[in-house]
C-alpha cells in the first residue's frame, strides 16, 4: 500500500493506493495518526486507487472517523471503487462517514 499526503485548501488528503487489509492497515493508521496529531480539521482519505478493503480495513476507517468526531474534526472518504463501495454500503458506512464523489464536493461540504 502506498500513501501520499497532500494539502487541498483547508483539508489534508491521503491518496491511498493498494489494498487496505489486516496485514497493512498499520501503515494507514500511522499516516492518519500523524495528520491528527497536527490538529487537522478535515481529513479526506482518497480511496480511488484502493481495490479491496477487508473487515479489518473497514473497522480501521470507522475507528478513525470516530476519533476525528471526538476532536470535532471531519473525516471523509473519497471515490471508493465499486467493490469497496458495495462492502461499505452493506455495512451502512455512509451513515457514519460521509462519502464524496469529488474532492470539490468534500471540500465544499466541510465549508458549508
Amino acid at each position: 500500500m502506498e500513501i501520499t499526503q497532500r494539502a487541498s485548501k483547508d483539508a489534508t488528503v491521503l491518496d491511498v493506493k493498494g489494498d487496505l487489509t489486516y496485514s497493512n492497515r498499520a501503515a494507514l493508521k500511522t499516516a492518519v495518526d500523524q495528520v491528527k496529531s497536527r490538529n487537522c480539521q478535515h481529513l479526506i482519505v482518497n480511496l480511488e486507487q484502493v481495490r479491496f478493503v477487508d473487515s479489518s480495513g473497514l473497522g480501521l476507517l470507522v475507528l478513525m472517523s470516530q476519533s476525528f468526531k471526538l476532536q470535532h474534526a471531519q473525516f471523509s472518504l473519497l471515490k471508493p471503487q465499486s467493490y469497496v463501495r458495495e462492502i461499505m454500503s452493506l455495512a451502512n458506512i455512509q451513515k457514519m462517514i460521509p462519502i464524496y464523489e469529488t474532492e470539490g464536493d468534500a471540500l465544499t461540504a466541510r465549508a458549508a
Partner: protein, 414 residues
Amino acid sequence: MNFESTQSPVQSFDSLAPSCLMAATILLVEDEPVTRTSMAARLTRLGHRVLEAGNGREALEVAKRERPDLIIVDWMMPEMDGPTFCETVRRDPTMKSIHILLMTSHDQPAQIAEGLARGADDFLSKAASKQEISARVLAGLRTGRLVRELETTSSQLESSMLLLQIKQMEMEADLQSAAAFVHSLLPPPGSPAPGLSLAWEYQPALTLGGDLFGVASIDADHLGLYILDASGHGVAAAIRSASLMTFLRVENILHLVGTYDPEKVLLEANRRFPLSEEGEYFTLWVGQLHLPTRSLSYASAGHHGALISRTGRPSRWLTRPSSPLGFDQAAVFANDRIALQPTDRLFLLSDGIYEAASPTGEPWGRWRFQQAVEAQQHSPLITTISHCFMEARRWQGQSNFSDDAAVVGLELSV
C-alpha cells in the same frame, strides 16, 4: 591537542604494540634453544606472557592446559614436526581455533602451501625482521580474538535459536489445545432437530479461528442458529470470538434477553461488544427457525453470508445493509422472515470463503459461491459444501485461505 607521534617508526611500533592489544599468552614451540630464547625475549618485550616448549608433543600438553591466544611453532622439530602439530591442534575441538604461526627457514611457495593446507594460519620466516615479527604476532592475535568472538556469538545464537524453538513448540501446543476446545464448541454435524440435517466445513487461516457458528435447540419448537465473523484473525480474534460465542449460548441469551428473537439478540450484542481500541469488531447473523411452520426469522449486523438455495426456485441472499456490532450504538436491527420449504438449503458462510482472492486480486465473490451451490443442488449437502471449498481453492490457486473460511449447511428434509 596534537596526538601525532614524534618517535621513529620502529620505536613507536614496539612501544605502542602492547597498548594497542591486550597482553596475550603466546606458546612458542622451537627445539633449538638459542632461537627459542631470543624469540621469547622479543615477545616478552612486546608485553606478552610467553610459554615455551621444545617439541610438538610437549607443546600439545601445554596448549591443552594453558589455552594460549597464539602459537608460534617451528616447522622442523624432532618427534612431531610443525605441520603435524598444526593438524593435531585443528582436530581438537577445544583448541581448533587457536591462531598458529608456522616458522620456517625458507619461504618457498610449495612449502607455504603445504603448511597452510595442514592447518597453519600464517608464516613467519626465521629471518624476519623485528618489525615483521611484531606485526605478524599482532595480526595473528587480532584475528584469533575475532575468531573467538565469532564463536561466542555463534554459540549464543544457537542457544537462543534452541530456546526460541522450544518456546514456539510450547506455544503451538497451547494453540492446538485451544483450537481443539473451540472445535468442541461447534455444533456436531448430523440432525440438530427432526427433519433437519446439518453439515459444515471449516478451515481457519491459522490454528485458531475467529469465525464461528452455532446451531442449537431453543425449545421443542425453535432452533437458534448464528454465524459470527471477527474482523482480523489470529489468536486475539479467536479469543474475542469465543467470548461472543459464549454470549450467544441459548441459556445465556434466554437469561439476558428473555428470547432468541434475532433483532433483540443483535441489539443486546451491539450494546455489549463495542468497537475495540484497535478497530476490531464482529459481524453477526442470527436466525430462529420455528420448526412446526418452517418459518425462519433472521437479522444481521453487517454479516452477509446467508443464502437460501431451493429446488426449482431462485436462490436468495438473506441479508440487507446493516451496521456491524459496535459501529453505531444507536443502531437497530430489523427482523426479516422467510417461509422455508422441504429440500430448501440454508447456507451460512464466512467472508473468508467469498473474499478468497485470485492471483490477480479479484475476490471469488458471493455470486460465484451461489453458482457453485446451485450447480450441486442435488448432491448430498456435505458434497455441495466440499465443492464450494474446492472451487474457492481453485480460484485462489492455493489450498490455504488467508482468512478463516467456513460454510455451514442446513437442509430441510422432505
